[in-house]
């Protein structure tokens, strides 16, 4: 594609998405985490629009708008109001050892780069190098879910994984077919409602959203 500036802009946005993934790993305040997630969604939406412009695939504009509506406006708003209602906006997460988490994150980035190398060889799209960033975002989302002890931040890790997957779809194949994208967005919306309800159940039952409290069911009783 004869759009070198678009390709560079896309690389820059991919770098920013990766940076926001790391930022999500290390933030302490709940509100800051939600804001960072919104920024990541914004970078994702802009990147999708840029790719849509450069590749001529106009359905990507629709995807970009969908991402903007859901991941930048709707989901952060839902999370924001949940956090306020649950009165946890002043709580600070006890994050497990920031420097080692970041080192593990770096290792995951290198690993995902290695894993997607064969795809990069085969692909002829201008976005082929950002597939590594997409897979890295998915893995960093998983790392975030593993290292966090609070239900809300675990869900944010899960949503970050979805961000990474969406980015992978646009990087590898200029987006999935529209019907699949719409279906995934619908699933995400339903999941958002469900975990919203969940937070209230957990809060009512356990009086806190600390996930460590929910560890009573064991493999071998």
């Amino acid at each position: 594609m004869a759009h070198p500036l678009a390709a560079q802009l896309n690389s820059l946005l991919a770098a920013l998405i990766l940076l926001s993934a790391f930022a999500l790993l290390t933030q302490r305040k709940k509100m800051a985490i939600v804001h960072t997630f919104a920024w990541q969604g914004l970078f994702l939406a802009i990147s999708t629009a840029v790719i849509g412009f450069a590749s001529g695939e106009h359905h990507l504009y629709i995807s970009s708008l969908l991402t903007l509506a859901m991941k930048v406006i709707l989901l952060p708003y839902i999370l924001y109001s949940l956090i306020i209602k649950l009165k946890i906006h002043r709580e600070i997460d006890a994050v497990v050892n920031i420097p080692s988490t970041m080192l593990i994150g770096l290792v995951l980035v290198v690993f995902s780069y290695h894993l997607t190398a064969p795809i990069r060889e085969l692909s002829s799209l201008m976005t082929r190098s950002t597939l590594a960033v997409a897979l890295a975002t998915v893995m960093l989302g998983m790392l975030m879910m593993v290292t966090r002890r609070h239900a809300v931040t675990q869900i944010l890790g899960f949503l970050e994984m979805e961000n990474g997957l969406f980015f992978a779809a646009t990087s590898a194949t200029y987006g999935m077919p529209m019907v699949v994208e719409l279906g995934v967005a619908l699933d995400l919306l339903i999941a958002a409602f469900i975990f919203g309800i969940f937070f209230f159940h957990i809060n009512t039952n356990f009086d806190s959203l600390d996930v460590d409290q929910m560890a009573k069911l064991r493999e071998m009783d």
Binding site: S11, A15, T26, I98, M102, V109, Y113, S129, V133
Partner: protein, 314 residues
């Protein structure tokens, strides 16, 4: 008529030595204005240095040769670094003596001797300052090296003059690796030069000091030399950042017209950079010391991300 390289060298060193206090004064004036105080005037640092030179040196009885030697060493090495970093021209004969790695090591020599001098007399505050400074440097130096590596990847060489030449000659393009490296460099520069949010240069409370604590025992011309070297270090870090990330305008030859242009651009960049730094300093508060590993870890992370981004995205 082009200037001989040696002449350019002397010119640059002279500029650094002569104008560094002015730059420090400019920073001070901006900071005071932003904080709503009356400023002491841009040439106040010159007055301070002159005053200090005219005062007697008061030495402790158990001060060793290290204590007396350090100010001269610090000043000398800083002047030498001033001759290595290309500020207005790339044709510097001294530039080939050290690439960025050696440059980091030179800064390290300065810090090493300062720390030794801080511990030399045996006071508690000196020792505390030295240990804090060494902690910061042990975390900051790897990050600094990573950041300059990220920059050197783009130009395939660790020599600063080479980096400047490559950067000025290639077309402008958005490079994520450089963006990350720049962010990391800013964080590290704040740590290395001892500014807020790492260390408050204007504090008078010994327990909050990091860099100042090592210099508590110095007086007279020793203190003048060390203070002057500190001001030069600030200018040089800015110069390093400008040479690595924003080198457009640095003259590739000895042509006086271009040199003059380079000087004007350099002055503009320094003034702008100074203003940004003052803004950062005014908006942030000093971090607690046990938060420093997180801060410097983030810098390391950004620098490494820059390197990785180079391989992944470029």
């Amino acid at each position: 008529m082009t200037l001989h390289p040696f002449a350019m060298e002397f010119l640059q060193v002279g500029l650094v030595v002569g104008l560094a206090p002015g730059f420090a004064g400019w920073i001070k004036v901006l900071k005071c204005r932003l904080q709503g105080r009356a400023a002491p005037g841009i040439i106040q640092p010159y007055r301070d240095i002159r005053r200090l030179f005219s005062k007697d040196v008061v030495l402790a009885e158990n001060a060793s040769w290290i204590f007396r030697f350090t100010p001269y060493l610090v000043f000398g090495v800083t002047v030498m670094i001033g001759g290595i970093i290309p500020l207005i021209s790339v044709e510097l004969p001294l530039a080939s003596t050290a690439d960025v790695i050696a440059l980091v090591m030179l800064f390290g020599i300065i810090r090493f001797f300062t720390a030794l001098a801080g511990m030399d007399i045996g006071t508690a505050f000196g020792g505390m300052g030295s240990s804090r400074e060494m902690t910061i440097s042990s975390l900051a130096e790897p990050a600094m090296l990573m950041a300059v590596f990220a920059v050197s990847l783009a130009s395939n060489s660790t020599s600063l003059t080479q980096m400047v030449s490559v950067m000025t000659q290639t077309d402008f393009s958005i490079r994520p690796s450089l963006a990350f490296a720049l962010a990391a460099f800013i964080l590290i520069a704040l740590a290395e030069t001892g500014r807020i949010p790492v260390d408050n240069p204007a504090t008078h409370l010994e327990l909050t000091m990091i860099h100042e604590a090592m210099l508590l025992e110095y007086s007279g011309r020793h203190l003048a030399l060390i203070e002057w070297a500190g001001m030069m270090k600030l200018v040089l870090f800015f110069g390093l950042g400008i040479a690595a990330f924003c080198p457009w305008g640095i003259s590739p030859s000895g042509d006086p017209g271009r040199l003059a242009l380079a000087f004007v651009l350099l002055a503009a960049k320094l003034l702008l950079g100074g203003a940004i730094m003052v803004l950062i300093e005014t908006c942030l508060a000093k971090m607690r010391i046990f938060r420093l590993p997180d801060y410097l870890g983030s810098a390391f992370l950004l620098a490494t991300l820059g390197m990785i981004a180079f391989f992944i995205l470029e």
